[in-house]
Amino acid sequence: MNYFFQQLLNGFQLGSVYALISLGYTMIYGIIRLINFAHGDIFMLGAYFGFYAITRFKFNFFIAILFSMVLCMIINVLIEKIAYAPLRKKNVPRINLLITAIGVSFFLENFASLKIIFGPDYLPYPRPFKIITFDFLGLTLSSIQIIVFFITLVLLLILDYLIKRTKIGLAMRAVSYDKETALLMGINVDNIISLTFALGAALAGAGGVLYGICYPQIHPFMGIMPGLKAFVAAVLGGIGVISGAVLGSYIIGMIEVFTAAFISSTFRDAIAFAILIIVLLTRPQGLFGKEEGIKL
């Protein structure tokens, strides 16, 4: 029984990281209907920025997270302005946007693995603070887990405040609801889209650093699988729904940890996707999504 609760805690840890990534997916899909395949690579960049901030520049851990968030924001906005914005202006079919996102993803992965950038090797991630373990009701809770939960919670609260209580958040919701009408209401749609990319990247950047301290090994292709899982989580929760993405992430994290603990670690991807397919077949809009009417 203790083993079970211990795994529950591990599931929460993995789910928190997924939540930070999947929020970016869900917000970007919500606003321009793009499955942003490059988002997992922003997460990878975040992990690397944190790595250099801690080892090279000797930043404090929290400053390192902020540093990586800011850099990721800048890079994602640049990507949006250079690669996606011209396509959006040309009004091309959605598949072109998707292929461009895949191109950006390949570019980031392979550019990062150049020797002059990050290099193709696996790097051990530094642990910038002492690992203390607590006994909590018979469970072992480490300082890493506490920090991950704490930072995730703070970021989620900030995001929630930003989206629900500020004017910018209102504009974001308006754009995702109806772009043309939002434009008529005097909202600068281009800026709001850039802002969404920036917000998503900031969360993914923080997620990268947290992933690094939880599972301390990074390499340029590390973003593919967590990115895909986070995307699955976003779809599971109902893509475009913020709270759905968070809950979906915790569900996926739990599924993965429990499959690894009780069945076999090689099957965890298969089971996560099998559950996704079953959910999609019974509730195509995801667990917490709203049903869309049929358009004729």
Partner: protein, 292 residues
């Protein structure tokens, strides 16, 4: 030596073309967003390799049988998969097929627990080398002919109608769901065929040859060629294989690492400059046909 290398690459390009033509039927002509095409290639490849490896003393007899069997079984498997999955639309269909591709890859990774000769994640070795240049060329020509006749048949026109407007097609008396199922299963059968050829070309299979990144590669090819254009798909497949390999030769040793950086940049640039793909939906030479 260099000749042999070029022949291998050329044969590989033919295999990729066959698979891409299958995906073009599914996505280009019918509009079913599939991101799990490489999985069907993998099923065909592993199934045929398992057969030829087990009965290798029968030579080309078992090779032919294995190819036919793997085409039929990929057709049936994809048909069965499609029955529930095709209820989903657009992006969700893509996600479900992507998930299917990943499940197949995990199963292939663990295949050695049931069939030790499949090798699981260590890869399948010592597959007899039956596929050669004449065989792939003939297969490619046969596939192009079949595909051309399919597209210009009543069935093909029904698919185009479904792609353009599902509800209108339904109103015209087309059994939309059944035609979609057939299109998906036929396209996947082409992938299975190409997989079977591929397995006996390189004599080595690994689950990562058929993971979701390969499915995405196939999607790239058909979008680059122009959706719904057979000529586009064929030319884009060859260009894709030869440019990726050619960069290996052209680039000096010092910047060889840049090969995979240049390729996505070309991709992004092409999407920006020619969003409709190289050919749009136009056809070349005898692939062209006016509707009556």
């Amino acid at each position: 030596m260099i000749n042999l290398y070029i022949i291998k690459i050329f044969s590989y390009a033919c295999c990729i073309t066959i698979s891409a033509l299958g995906l073009n039927l599914i996505y280009g002509y019918t509009g079913l967003f599939s991101l799990g095409h490489a999985a069907f290639m993998g099923i065909g490849a592993y199934l045929s390799a398992l057969l030829t490896k087990s009965f290798s003393s029968y030579g080309y007899l078992v090779y032919t049988g294995a190819i036919i069997l793997s085409v039929i079984s990929t057709f049936l498997i994809s048909y069965l998969i499609a029955i529930p999955i095709l209820k989903l639309k657009s992006d969700y269909l893509g996600i479900a097929t992507l998930g299917f591709g990943i499940i197949v890859k995990v199963l292939l990774d663990n295949s050695d627990k049931v069939f030790p000769q499949m090798g699981g994640s260590r890869g399948m070795l010592t597959i007899p080398n039956f596929t050669n240049l004449p065989i792939v060329l003939l297969s490619l020509i046969a596939v192009i002919l079949i595909m051309r006749n399919l597209i210009y048949s009543k069935f093909g026109r029904a698919l185009l109608a479904i792609r353009e407007d599902e509800n209108a097609a339904y109103a015209m008396g087309i059994d939309v769901y059944k035609q979609k199922l057939l299109s998906f299963a036929l396209g996947s059968a082409f992938a299975g065929f190409s997989g079977a050829l591929y397995a006996h070309l390189y004599c080595f299979l690994h689950p990562s040859n058929f993971d979701f990144l390969r499915s995405i590669d196939l999607m790239l090819i058909i979008v680059l060629g122009g959706l719904g254009s057979m000529s586009g798909t064929i030319i884009a497949s060859f260009l894709w294989v030869f440019i990726l390999e050619g960069l290996r030769i052209i680039l000096p040793q010092a910047i060889l690492d840049w090969r995979l950086v240049i390729y996505p940049l070309l991709l992004i640039l092409l999407m920006l400059l020619r969003p409709q793909g190289l050919f749009g939906n136009k056809e070349l030479l005898w692939l062209k046909r006016e509707y009556p």
